[in-house]
Symmetry: C2
Subunit: 693 residues, 2 copies
């Protein structure tokens, strides 16, 4: 459907100009200069020729074949032009013009107009307020930006035009090829999700990269991106991760909200690799486009100098990679081939006196070694052999194996030729050896994601639909969770002191007393919880203290909840939080009163299958502890996993729940179960926090 | 003392060669080509002329003045040459030759020889196994590496020759100037500490940078580096931070050990900024050399595009910087000058249509604004004005204010001229806007370090020296700590069940019972601790359980320690650990059985003054919690600070203590004190862990 944007039969440029300082000139120049083979039809009433091309008075006059219009006229005229395009049978347009929703109220009206005209005349369009598109294979360049990257395998779409311009410039300087580059602009029609789909369908694109500030529809985005990621790597850079950044995004594009955590969890789920910086995004993209994925985390480092190898090793270790052991055969072989003082353990140091021949021998041996999943080749500057010759050698030897090789031919002034050769040979090079670590980590991460069996989440049905609806409507969180199979410790409400004693004796010591009051959220903040009560006397004392604390804090005391106290368990937090973009997220981590302090809570998009629930648990320190820590026996992980799956289904089943949090959830030892002790929740558009114990 | 290495009166090159493929040729070439103004005296028996310079048969023949020898002869001949130098009155040498300790036993012997000959003849030397030195201001280039950086303000010394070669190459390509560059080689004579001192004394060097794998003497290094850092910024990149990296360092240089943590703490204390990567080191160095320090963390971002600004803002926020608020006046002024749709809040977006004139006006306004401590200027690629003109404008406007400005003129192909101008104007530029964050963070960190008043640590004298020595010798950790003013809860040993009951009743409930046994380290691992015992019956039950557990674990039970149980306090860990390089380090953090899991322990080099102790506490989550968290009252921070200072003195006083650890140390609420509950310790060269409660 988006094909005519990238492989048009003919292109009309409405608003073409003879003035070299106008964008309408740059567009015609780029179409021509970068060898677009179809018809180029400048449209401009007051000119007869632009850059030796015949100029047309109106769209209607443009001859066949033509299926793409590039519109660069003042904002108030754009709708009219789109209508003319529709009438002429041009069903695809790129609206470069600015002055729409990004520039205030007036522009917003013009944009609404544009949308309805385009719908009426069935014109698909990219923009407005964008800088165009490039397909290096067609080739076609609809931008006004000087320069065009070489043909390549990386597709890039961006919600920032500036980022497109800088990527074009960077790609030219660095000699990195691209397949397609797309500036999405205000994306009132064609959006990032459709563009990712288009890049997915494009055979020339081997890796999809995207600069994303927000998505149009979280769930749809995840579906499309995951489908794409199953076939080819998708790397995204998210703008607006911090608080100030998010505010800036809102004022930049007015993009729909969605928390940075939710984006992280959504990317994770869909198999999108989230880069931290632009540099990282394109380091990764080159490696993913050019090299096979490593089978595992074992890296061999081949170097002619110790220092740079050490920096690479430090960075690799920090990124969770490990140094391959190397077999005895490999070491023996290297010993017989390398200089006497060389290091034949990993990192393998051929020493400064070794040239491309020695590198070739050593690289071949390392790539053959079964303990090696990938190889990093470092060359510190030297001036007794041509760096380009090493580039040729690495390219050739790597090409005859099926393991990834990343190069770091260091330096700047002396190595340009070598970098060109490496890029031609499809060996990614980074100027500083530390950068190899994040590249290999991204590759391993993709490999692991691809290896996850795609189980459908289990569908639980062992609950009463009516009860569920009623409990949710009444914010009776406990009943709701019990219905979904989550257990609570025995407990009972008591209205006065005497009743409390009776109830405590019947439940059995030790017990916990908790203040019951409509108006209190964090009970510990008014000292409304008394733990580990072991006798009648202690019950009385605790009641008095709670009463006193409630009076002090000036809150109504309706009574206390008497609860069986659980001992020897591990306190975790488990909950749901609804993201405006990606829907319900399940969160899990170390619980208790220090939750915010410990910052050990991770989240994942609902629903969760078993593996996803396990991964969520394992990503937290709480999860590590649950496997048995010091003298503590392993906790009942199985129950926790089941709860997470059930809770994730609850989040999907009930769209009116905004937040639901069990803290603590008491996890007893293996086989003994887990018990929710405290639950808080809110319904969507429900400002007031409702407490229940 | 090291002056002749950088400002020699005349240079003899022993081992000079006419063969362009030999290092001995490259050295003579570099001396000549890079305009060394003193006499250059090649020494080679079999040549009469090298590169049009007269060649001498031996060192003895070289005419005056000459005070530096560059030695590039086979390793076995080096000692003889050094002797000849000494005899000739040349007291400084750079030994380029390899084949010494780095290459095995034979080389080690040669190195020992070299050291004793040099001592005998009083010759100071850099190397062996190095690639020489550069002083761009003299100028003199004693390396054989092709190319020479421009004159500049950055001094660099390195324990890796490869790093020197790559920095030379990078500097040439990036147009960054250096003052001095030094390859230290095996540094058996001149070492990294002396070199940092020499760079400190050099007026041309405004910033010291160093690649360090190990230091020769930790305490001396700290002293010299701190003195240097008080005058000029010192930035270090530490090689061998991870486990594998540290192993590689050991095999690379055989450098003395010292943990990565200790290096971090030593750098922190001495005011050395620790960079994470080479790129970061030189990003920081340029900014620190060229720009004033910011007064604080408030950054204004000035941009012509939203996306790149958002990425910069994300990175700034992550680095702990914040966006300046901007005064109402500034906003009003910008509103009157910038295009209508521009953003006049921070980040200030002048929009793609604005050129260098608009940037000038906005930059001047931002630098004038009192809420702004520093400004980041971003330019996304455009092609309607010369990027170089923006570079001129930024340079000029920044020059008339005293706040730091960091630029990110993005792109590669189109901006070379602009970068040259920025570098000439001393405005650091980074190709990707995210990199500004780490630069500004480093500058703020330096500012904060410079602002710390240099208090001398308090010297405590309220203890009995004899008792201290005796306790330490007997590993009576408790007595030792009590002597140093650290409190323990009331406790008493009991040998059998009956005695335990009596003791418990006399101490008063609740109490804790702890297994006493010579052979147990982590008591909780044999279930040897029973907490919160409140009655006679519970004492009996606890005794039985401990007995049972001891039998199960097959350890001798000598009795139990009955201890007053402390309630309502916060469990922290506090300890000493002796580093082989930097001596005693004090550690502090969240305590309890989950210490390793929580990873909330920070360390600092002893001794600590009050501010350093406070900073150590504040760097941990435990410290944040101590200030009062949720319903918990503030803990007795004052006592903890005092303990840390006292403990740090203990570490300095007693050089035979290897490790000493209180976990948990129970910190009660403000004014209530803190009590050590469990102490473990080891003496230096004492393999066995001794436990005491």
């Amino acid at each position: 459907m988006l094909d005519p944007f990238f492989k048009p039969q003919g292109v009309a440029v409405i608003g073409a100009s003879r003035n070299p300082h106008k964008l309408g000139y740059g567009i015609v120049r780029n179409l021509k200069e970068y060898r677009y083979q179809g018809g180029i039809y400048p449209v401009n009433k007051s000119a007869t020729e632009i850059l030796d091309l015949h100029c047309y008075e109106s769209v209607a006059e443009v001859p066949d074949p033509v299926d793409l219009a590039i519109v660069i006229v003042p904002a108030p005229v754009v709708s009219k032009i789109i209508k003319e395009c529709g009438q002429r049978g041009i069903k695809h347009a790129i609206v470069i013009s600015g002055g729409f929703s990004e520039s205030g109220e007036e522009g917003e009206k013009l944009e609404e107009d544009l949308v309805s005209v385009a719908e009426e005349w069935d014109v698909n369009f990219i923009g407005p307020n964008c800088i165009g598109t490039i397909d290096t294979h067609t080739p076609v360049n609809t931008t006004f930006v000087a320069g065009m990257p070489e043909s390549g395998e990386i597709g890039f779409c961006s919600q920032s035009g500036a980022m497109v311009a800088s990527v074009i410039d960077w790609a030219r300087g660095a000699g990195v090829g691209f397949s397609r580059i797309v500036s999405l602009g205000n994306q009132v029609d064609v959006n990032e999700t459709q563009m990712i789909e288009a890049l997915h369908e494009d055979d020339q694109t081997k890796v999809i990269t995207a600069y994303i500030e927000g998505v149009s529809n979280g769930k749809e985005f995840m579906k499309v991106a995951q489908k794409a990621a199953e076939d080819k790597p998708v790397v995204a850079l998210k703008g607006g991760r911090g608080e100030s950044g998010a505010r800036a995004v809102a004022s930049h594009t007015g993009a729909l909200a969605g928390s940075a955590e939710a984006y992280g969890a959504a990317f994770e789920r869909s198999g999108i690799l989230q880069a931290g910086t632009m540099e990282e995004m394109f380091d990764w993209a080159r490696a993913l486009a050019w090299q096979p994925l490593p089978k595992g985390k074992n890296v061999a480092v081949l170097t002619n100098a110790g220092g740079p190898a050490i920096l690479a090793v430090d960075a690799l270790e920090k990124a969770g990679m490990q140094l391959a052991e190397l077999t005895a055969e490999t070491k023996k072989y290297l010993e017989s081939r390398l200089p006497k003082a060389a290091s034949v353990s990993n990192p393998v140091d051929v020493l400064a006196g070794s040239g491309p021949g020695t590198y070739a021998v050593a690289l071949d041996a390392l790539l053959t070694d079964e303990t090696v999943d990938s190889v990093v080749v470092i060359q510190a500057p030297q001036d007794w052999f041509l760096p380009a010759s090493l580039a040729e050698v690495v390219g050739e030897v790597a090409g005859s194996h099926d393991k990834p090789v990343i190069a770091s031919i260091m330096g700047k002034a002396s190595v340009d030729e070598a970098l060109n050769i490496l890029h031609k040979r499809k060996i990614p090079n980074v100027a500083f050896p530390e950068r190899v670590a994040s590249v290999l980590k991204a590759m391993v991460k993709r490999k692991e994601w691809l290896d996850i069996p795609q189980q459908t989440p289990e569908q639980f049905t062992d609950f009463n639909e009516q009860k569920v609806q009623k409990s949710a409507a009444e914010k009776d969180w406990k009943s709701l969770l019990v219905e979904y199979g989550i257990a609570f410790p025995p407990e009972q409400f008591a209205e006065n002191k005497a009743e409390t004693v009776t109830v405590a004796e019947s439940i059995g010591y030790p017990v916990v007393l908790k203040l019951v009051s409509e108006s209190v959220s964090h009970k510990t903040e008014v000292d409304g919880v008394k733990l580990d009560i072991r006798s009648k006397d202690e019950v009385t004392a605790a009641w008095n203290k709670i009463k006193e604390a409630a009076e002090l804090a000036d809150v109504d005391m309706e009574g206390v909840q008497v609860q069986k106290m659980l001992t020897g368990g591990q306190e975790v937090i488990m909950g749901l939080r609804r993201d405006p973009q990606f829907g319900p997220m399940v969160l899990f981590g170390t619980g208790g009163t220090d939750v915010e302090l410990l910052q050990d809570v991770e989240s994942a998009i609902a629903p969760l299958n078993r593996l996803q629930a396990e991964n969520l648990v394992d990503a937290t320190r709480a999860g590590i502890k649950m496997k048995g820590w010091r003298n503590q026996p392993p906790a009942d992980r199985e129950t926790v996993i089941t709860y997470l799956m059930r809770l994730s289904q609850l989040g999907n089943d009930l769209s009116n729940i905004d937040e639901l949090e069990m803290n603590p959830l008491y996890v007893l030892s293996k086989g003994q179960g887990a018990y929710a002790v405290d639950v808080r929740g809110t319904l969507v558009e429900d400002e007031k926090v409702v407490v229940q114990d």
